[in-house]
Symmetry: C2
Subunit: 349 residues, 2 copies
Amino acid sequence: MSVRTVSNVAAGSDLVAAATRERVQRVIDELGYRPNAAARHLRGGRSGLIGLVLPELSSPYFAELADHVVRAAADRGRMVLVQQTDGEAEQERRLLTGVRGQSVDGVLMSPWGLSPADLRAEPGSSPVVLLGEQDAEGLLDHVTVDGEAAAREATQHLLAAGRTSIVAVGDQPHLGNGTAERRAAGYRAAMTAAGLEPRTVAVRRLHRSDGADAVRALLERPQRPDAVFCFSDQLALGALRAAMTAGLRVPDDLAVVGFDDVEDGRYATPALTTVAPDKAAIAEAALELLTSRIESPERPPQRVLAPYLLRVRESSAAATPPDSQPTSRPGTRKPRKVTSRRGTNPSRA
Amino acid sequence: MSVRTVSNVAAGSDLVAAATRERVQRVIDELGYRPNAAARHLRGGRSGLIGLVLPELSSPYFAELADHVVRAAADRGRMVLVQQTDGEAEQERRLLTGVRGQSVDGVLMSPWGLSPADLRAEPGSSPVVLLGEQDAEGLLDHVTVDGEAAAREATQHLLAAGRTSIVAVGDQPHLGNGTAERRAAGYRAAMTAAGLEPRTVAVRRLHRSDGADAVRALLERPQRPDAVFCFSDQLALGALRAAMTAGLRVPDDLAVVGFDDVEDGRYATPALTTVAPDKAAIAEAALELLTSRIESPERPPQRVLAPYLLRVRESSAAATPPDSQPTSRPGTRKPRKVTSRRGTNPSRA
DNA sequence: ACGTGGCATTGCCACGTTGCAAACTGCAGT
DNA sequence: ACTGCAGTTTGCAACGTGGCAATGCCACGT
């Protein structure tokens, strides 16, 4: 009964006679023996952990995304180490270098402060997959929705509902990640195509208070908009609040559309129309990319486009009365799942 | 230049001459050398990781709590491994045994399905600190707010505002964790003291839809309440939604009070009155307990009571018009921070 | 000049696992 | 009976770190 044989049984190797296996297994169960993760990690170089680096967990969108990521990781026998950056470039840099190659086999990162090029330049060798709408083509693996198309679609929806003075809220010129740029571009495209003047408002962060402040400021100006398209649900919920407080009726006086489809929006009054990225698909794709890269580090970087959906709810309805129950009826269905050069899916034991 | 000396420099030992240290450090920086976490873990038996086991990350309360936990852990040089149980006893058991003694130095757990006694009975030896309102006295370390007092206070607030038919929503007789029982007890105490008949409604989960369903059902009954006290903000937000949909005015026709103080509630319309546990304090205390137990595993289990605050906002105002801006003015201030036998705080390098 | 003590450096080993290759087993073929 | 083979089992080594103890070095006191 050598150590080696026990190891073979524990690791599920097939180089063990059935009788031996059973005998060893019985003892294992009896003693409650569990193979030591640290030793395995040291020996094999794999920890079974992945890092999830997010701006902040308390933001509902990231919380929901993290939920999906943890589940997707668990499905693959991996556990998730969560880190927060507050969206600060310095933290992102520090965490990426710090966690990398350390206790983690790979990192899923949603950068705000750093651009893909910055990230690419960081030292360290462990796999990284980006989440979000940066342009990382050819630099790093990357999962995203087509923010530009989504924004265009959301704007077109408002136009189709008869709105003419639509303001986009949520530009973030101080950040390097390109998310806001994409959405702003889509918005502008739709506006210009309709012969209308685009008008964007910048915010520092994407919190409710920023959305509330922005809308409050908008309402004080002479030229009141009849719709706002916010680049996050948090902004939109703040906008809702500001509009209601100012005595406006939503959607009659002001239509509001968000982006993210967080649960709050479904239960807001009125329920929030929003662009709904398929978070489960994002998490799945991200884990697939990450595990595939862990297996084959030299494969060229890939981009995966995750599907999204425009969920039309009360906050942008043209003139219909709010329905009695907030559901998640699909609005304009458009599951554009485009997978460019999706890697093979190596089998797992 | 032996391996040993480099190890001493990297580990910050003081058994190194200043000149040597500097020379080694330079090379370390140059090569980007980072001490290997797996080897340290194997050798020292400490991974620097702690597990955070929660029902679900997508629930705003847990997301906010997780945010604080990750920060508090980072302050102590630790990282956090997040696991989800969906509140299921089996998952809680599996995760507790599975993660324990593996890659993690200790576990912070918010149990729903298992009672403290169940948890105590689980095999495995790594430290566990409970988060939540179970009765774990003498069994396990434990951080909680006084849910009974908080519920009493919330109910008294409604009574003081002139409400007489107050229903408590959120009893969960099928769960073993005692949270709902505590809050229900506080509620009943206040009602009985006021000479009123307590009336509680059970829900299966604590989501918005459950709160909405419960209130919808309540409104169909002959005896309409003039206030609901929900055992979570999610329930309360669902209740708000159901009330508005039914054409009721909140707070005029129905006052709503929640529990948790999640960010959504502050920006709901009307803004939600709620019991606000000090989540940062909870996270701090939990990490303090956990690190102290990691240092001295034999110390007797402690309980730490974290402070809470009743934040009175619009959803329960007596007759005043809603204020123009949702703020977090403290309501009844009552920072009852009671620390029973709080352990010493061992210094950290 | 020599002994002594204190600080700095080094070597050895073990932590628990697994890749590799050697050793061993029983059995069939010659 | 001996060889060869396939199927099992075992021994050795190494992953990188840090506790321990031995060694090396230098300055000071006598």
